[in-house]
Symmetry: C2
Amino acid sequence: MRPRVVIVGGGFGGLYAARSLRRAAVDVTLIDRRNFHLFQPLLYQVATGALSPGEIASPLRYVLNGQKNTRVLLAEVVDIDVDKREVVLDDRSRVPYDTVILATGATHSYFGHPEWEAFAPGLKTIEDATEIRSRVLLAFEQAEKNTESPEVRRANLTFVIVGGGPTGVELAGAIAEISRDTLQKDFRSINPADANIFLIEGTDRLLPAYPPKLSHAAEKALIKLGVQTRTGAMVTGIDEHGVTVKTGNSVAEFPASTVLWAAGVAASPVGKILSDRLGLTLDYAGRVPVEPDLSIAGHPEILVIGDLAAFLQDGKQVPGVAPTAIQQGRYAAKLIVNRVLDKKTEPFRYFDKGSLATIGRNQAVAEIGPFQFSGIFAWLAWLFIHLLYIVEFENRLLIVVQWAYDYFTHNRGARLITGEQQK
Amino acid sequence: MRPRVVIVGGGFGGLYAARSLRRAAVDVTLIDRRNFHLFQPLLYQVATGALSPGEIASPLRYVLNGQKNTRVLLAEVVDIDVDKREVVLDDRSRVPYDTVILATGATHSYFGHPEWEAFAPGLKTIEDATEIRSRVLLAFEQAEKNTESPEVRRANLTFVIVGGGPTGVELAGAIAEISRDTLQKDFRSINPADANIFLIEGTDRLLPAYPPKLSHAAEKALIKLGVQTRTGAMVTGIDEHGVTVKTGNSVAEFPASTVLWAAGVAASPVGKILSDRLGLTLDYAGRVPVEPDLSIAGHPEILVIGDLAAFLQDGKQVPGVAPTAIQQGRYAAKLIVNRVLDKKTEPFRYFDKGSLATIGRNQAVAEIGPFQFSGIFAWLAWLFIHLLYIVEFENRLLIVVQWAYDYFTHNRGARLITGEQQK
């Protein structure tokens, strides 16, 4: 019988692992609780009405349907029986493995304040994105309807984004563009450009993982777009009225009907399962410590990749971005193939191709190798690289057409308020 | 002060009325509870994974943003104060009118069996479409997972569509294509082509509103696609196990995990409001009887158009299709303009441009003037006319690209299982 490889999670890590095993003499089972792979770097474009969910999601079965040695299972993994080497699914059925690749990613973390989630949704799933889209659009609608109280109208037109990493920067820039540009002629009682957009960051600069030069370029570009940035500012409370922020010794209230969470992430609950079963100590973000070959110490048959893995390189956790997951997914596949061939594999090493964050129309910041740049060239680099990576997607052509259309018309066509409560 | 025109509903009737008033010396308020216009004739394409919601919906504010005399309100109308001439919104605020155009359309009707709705969703809203899409795709997923009971697997792979009108025919044809073509290589334990697709129609032929020749052409094309048609068959029960169907004196059970409702429609609840306030008698489908100029007898300031209006022409109710609503919307606008100019308006007359129903790839039936035809030419006519009418949409180009892509690759890219319960 051929070795059975079970991959849990169809994100960048899991999908690239599966694809890299397509010619290997193994039987692959990819398990995900969703039936599609999501191109998460563009999720903020759905949240801000520029793209539709279908344009950044591709059915896993479709992506893998030409791969004869692979089957896809739509199921949630609720346990891992490390002794019997079986993955336990939500319907209690079990899938045996010879090697398992765990690639279940990360979710939001509200720093010990789960009660904030209801008021400040994060951006991880398609549903998160359509929920944020509805909230942002409804806020403008409420302001248009409210003709009595200027305070309420001001709160309706105030958007607070918590977290100044790439997602926060992208969201703030996109909402600024919506209010200053896209919605310009859409309302009669309000001027959408009156919207206040606050970007709150706890450290002393935006994009703290980037070089300071780019942080400052990003901040400058955001301010030009009309975003009000607050660095060194800690959020101490979020409720239906808005956000409380502490900067140094002063505390300020930001009355706002829309608060978006782009701050903390925590590894998926599969980390907790492993720690319970194997007595592992997870890192502060719930990630699973791995060996240089991404396996768990004493369990070479369990590989952990992507946002779920605590992998230190030169003493530093590798960044939680798509390229890390892709490289680790490919490495895990190579390791499995080498084991079948009885070949040795060098330890995993993350190759940093650079960092990019887009701010808005024609605006981005980039660090590629020794080069740091911002402005339209960074934006073109961002565009090019995203189109390159979305190559795996059948919808690439559509995204290009949609982007080109939006670019030339200054429009965002997918501005739909949808969802259960809207029925 | 300029006359105030309030339009309730942003479907084909309301939107075309608003657009036709763009140069009139009136103040227009368009009220809809959704923030977008929906191109309903293509909703079944969303339900079957070919198009994304954003591709067939366009924000009302965007469509009307260049129209200076028009404002859009996102609100639900809960009452109409016919004495004070005010429309009452869900937040209890009131919008005064000199003329009101009621264009709130229709919803599903389960023939006195509201308990069927939970098991057999209909197709009217974007949420209906994504719900149906999820159910159809999940049924295949369940069948793939279920390795024990052949009966359960057979029920998982059985799809029953109730109602043989255009929507039912389109849904049945699309699901047949998905199972025979799109999903062909996607599964490992099942063959999606084993799916049983039943189309149940109460009258003695499919598409009863069309000429018999086209009904038979449609049935032949559906059978060729693998659809099993049942005419003269009444549904007497629907529950979680499937559908009970009575044909003549025999009763048959159709065990099925997916049942879709494409049978009855009823006018929107605004009809009931009018009947309560004015003592009107609605027709059997809850529609509001109107005068030859689409106004309500004794209330020339209340116009009713589209699926909400009971308008008899040559003794027959005009069909509940987009062209009727568009023509009535344009007529209502003309009537209002003529009144301002003190000009007489001829009674409304529906001009039947023909009927079309698409069955699948290269297959449709058409009746245009004296011509009745089916096959690829009917399909090309369908394509051409839908592209022509979607002209009003900014997304037309994208839809063409998406269709062309799907056509040549035999794919449906928007096969996402999304929604609250999937989070």
